[in-house]
């Protein structure tokens, strides 16, 4: 079967589907019909026109199309939207080093911080103040006899 034949059969099928459909009454059309019509007893058709039209069951083809459309709609709108800024997006094609060897060797352990050494002391850090030992017996006894109870 050629493509043209298939297209023609599909078109005829669609024409028949459209022909089998009855047009649905719209809300805006009903008042206009009441205003232009001569005054007469309301007939059943007017009352029929105000009543909601019974829904026509879709054909198998329509059902198939609707199912496909519904599924496509759900797939097109994901529940979670992920936004990736272009600047942060990983650039493909740039080779990267393995994670384990990305840092240079020696930087993973503690790194000593240089501290400036103290300057050379200009004088002794501490002095021990002591009195010279008494050299004469007089100095010795003078210190001894100067002791008093605290």
């Amino acid at each position: 079967m050629s493509v043209e034949t298939q297209v023609a059969r599909l078109e005829s099928l669609l024409e028949r589907i459209q022909a089998n459909r009855r047009p649905l009454p719209t809300a805006s059309a009903a008042p206009e019909a009441v205003a232009s019509a001569p005054a007469a007893a309301p007939a059943e058709p007017s009352a029929e026109a105000e009543a909601p039209a019974p829904r026509v069951s879709p054909t198998p083809m329509e059902q198939a199309l609707e199912v496909e459309l519904d599924q496509r709609h759900e797939e097109d709108e994901p529940e979670v939207e992920i936004t990736v800024e272009e600047e942060e997006a990983p650039q493909e094609g740039i080779p990267t080093a393995p994670v384990g060897t990305r840092a240079p060797a020696g930087e993973t352990g503690p790194q000593p911080v240089d501290i400036a050494p103290p300057a050379q002391a200009s004088e002794p850090v501490a002095r021990v103040v002591t009195r010279p030992q008494p050299r004469t017996f007089g100095e010795l006894m003078a210190r001894t006899l100067a002791l008093r109870p605290r």
Binding site: Q133, P134, R135, T136, F137, G138, L140, M141, R143, T144, L145, A146, L147, R148, P149, R150
Partner: protein, 182 residues
């Protein structure tokens, strides 16, 4: 020229014809047994008058200073104490040693004769000795029972003696003392 260390040679002169003994400098001395001297000293302690013992100490001090080239106050410590120790040992009062505890001075006398229970006779003897050497009054307070004496000014001797009788040792007593005005 004066000797820098104690020379015991010729210190005593025994004159057998006269029956007298003199020490260097001409003073007559008596050689007595400690068994005789001890009750005399004990009686003096009980009577509260150790003047005679203190006077004996002064004579020993004078014998020591007589060998010095100058005043004891201007003489090196070792030389003065060496002369004093020599004289003491020559008269049979024991072997003198001296310790410095900071500013405090502690005299230790080994092999000393036991004259009274609390060594108050020896304390009086040493007090007279050091008073002569220092040319001012010095009190020696017994500390403990091993011939240890603390040299102090007489004005604080009674308090130090109380501490000593209360059981304080040399370290505790010295810790309670401080230079006047400090």
């Amino acid at each position: 020229m004066a000797q820098t260390s104690f020379d015991p040679g010729g210190f005593f002169e025994f004159d057998l014809r006269r029956g007298a003994v003199t020490s260097r400098g001409g003073g007559r001395v008596l050689v007595l047994s400690d068994a005789v001297v001890a009750p005399l000293v004990a009686a003096a302690v009980e009577g509260g008058d150790l003047t005679a013992v203190r006077k004996l100490g002064r004579q020993l001090g004078e014998a020591a200073t007589a060998a010095l080239a100058g005043p004891a106050a201007d003489t090196p410590v070792e030389e003065v104490l060496g002369q004093a120790a020599g004289v003491l040992s020559l008269f049979g009062w024991g072997r003198l040693g001296v310790e410095r505890w900071g500013d405090a001075l502690v005299a230790k006398l080994d092999d000393l004769p036991r004259l009274d229970d609390e060594h108050l006779g020896i304390a009086a003897l040493l007090g007279g000795l050091f008073s002569s050497l220092a040319a001012e009054e010095v009190a020696c307070v017994p500390v403990g029972d091993s011939g240890t004496f603390l040299l102090v000014d007489p004005s604080v001797a009674q308090k130090v003696w109380k501490w000593s009788r209360g059981g304080d040792d040399v370290a505790a007593i010295v810790g309670r003392l401080a230079p006047e005005g400090a």
